[in-house]
């Protein structure tokens, strides 16, 4: 019997695929399917961010991708080392319920529930209206972030 190696890295793409560029996170996860080593798990997440803490409970290293809204050019890629610095609030787009990613990460920090390494990618969105489909700049950024994650994992 082959015992599967315990996955070491978790990649989470946060967002609602039905809200325009908010789909950036799950889109990155989709781009990564079949391109990841078995030690990496990739997971789209479309629910309240409190569940993030649950999701990464057993992982030491986590990479998280979400759409953001900071006023930068659509498609701009932000990268935060969240284990070292606090995430800027109000940057991560969230539709309604409770918490955005920044709030969830900071809550986890207060409760000592951050993974040992947490990197957060924010993809600047152009629009978050109802409907499927990424804007051109964001679709491009999704490719780039997927690539950068693969590079990061290889390092």
């Amino acid at each position: 019997m082959i015992v599967a190696e315990k996955p070491a890295v978790l990649i989470i793409g946060v967002g609602n695929p039905l809200r325009g560029d908010d789909a950036a996170g799950p889109a990155v996860i989709q781009r990564l399917q079949n391109r990841l080593p078995p030690s990496v798990i990739a997971l789209p997440l479309d629910s309240d961010s409190v569940s993030l803490m649950e999701a990464w409970r057993d992982f030491e290293r986590v990479i998280l991708v979400d759409a953001v809204c900071s006023g930068a050019v659509p498609g701009f890629i932000h990268r935060f080392d969240a284990t070292r610095t606090e995430l800027p609030r109000g940057l991560f787009h969230y539709s309604s319920h409770l918490f955005g990613v920044a709030e969830a990460v900071e809550l986890a920090r207060q409760l000592g529930r951050l993974p040992e390494r947490l990197v957060v990618y924010g993809i600047e969105g152009a629009g978050f209206a109802y409907g499927e489909g990424l804007s051109a700049g964001v679709a491009e950024a999704v490719e780039q972030v997927a690539h950068r994650i693969l590079v990061e994992l290889g390092e």
């Binding site: 479309d46 629910s47 569940s51 309604s96 319920h97 709030e103 207060q110």
Partner: protein
Amino acid sequence: MTKPRSRTVKVNALARVEGEGALYVSIKGDAVQEVKFRIFEPPRFFEALLQGRLYSDAPDITARICGICPIAYMLGACQAMEDALGVVLPQPLQDLRRLIYCGEWIQSHVLHTYLLHAPDFLGYEDSIRLSHDYPGVVERALELKKTGNRIMEVVGGRAVHPVNLKVGGFYSVPRRQTVRELIEPLNWALEAALATVRLFAGFDFPDYRYDYTCVSLRQPEEYPITQGRLVSNRGLDIPIDQFTAHFSEEHVAHSNALHGRMNGGEAYLVGPIARYNNNFDTLSELARQSAREAGLEPVCDNPFQSIIVRAVETLYACEEALRLANAYEEPDAAAVEIVPHAGEGHGCTEAPRGICYHRYRLDEAGRIVEAQIVPPTSQNQKQIERDLWGVVEKNLDLAEDKLKWRCEQTIRNYDPCISCATHFLKLTLDRS
């Protein structure tokens, strides 16, 4: 004579409520001139998009009105369709519905009280800062919420927007063993809920009282969750199919959500305080005792104490869930067979925020001809504005930032679900 000083309290985007809303209060001297609780979340047209759909589509479509209280929509729709089609569910399936609804109450109440409302009372801007000083309290909240979510997963298939509910019952029923596995976490949750009531009882409550017209469901033997007659503390006692004869909705210019009102025009209250006041006698012994120990009378008229009432209801929901999980046996069939035909039906349940009413008319093929959904936050808007008016009048001496804080806290007494309230049909565009 000096000119009365004018003050304006404005909150352009309310935090720690569900959805997008704003508040505008204008004060002249010692008199409140105007209060507007604005809901600018865009309307969502659910009632229109249901038209032409099959009766069986309604639960899953209406569930999308809210990610916090999908069960309220799913069950309201199921009940209304079952009413229209003359179907009665056997007791075991009704029990299973009550069980999943307990899960929704637990997760919704815990989320609101601990993470959104408690920071108001403890002087924190949000629950992150709260968790810095009280990590144990926030840990308890997250664990409690998880217990609620777990019930939703076991009975509903998943925690957010469950998929297992349908007109006539369920797509499949959970295994006995899976339901039994809820018992251990629920035993812990019961203790945690007791501690929650005690914790909130120690908060300072602003001095404000209101003689509310409380509207809720009521059943003779048990605290209302999934069904009952519609009652008020002013003597109303009607079957739910009489809802529209007594309640209506009106459009006001400053809100994208219809305002509910009694047909005489007056405001009314739905939600935990209304439920509690109308049904204190059917709470469990433990819940009543814990309410009394927390300083609550059988009638609560201070809306700020709604946080304790929610904690008492959380305790009750844990007890009920335990009782139902302990008694659970797998039903013979997951659902009752449905034969579609023409008809009209009504459904009404107690969403965490108050009664949620559904009415549908079906054609002979079982397609929806007309849909009406009245969510709790719509019904509470008028009363929210009354409370804001009264709270501001009582606190005119507060500094601007403190007054603003108190106003936001007043709105959060209602745990308003703004996305729910804006599902409605009519949109009036003023192009003049």
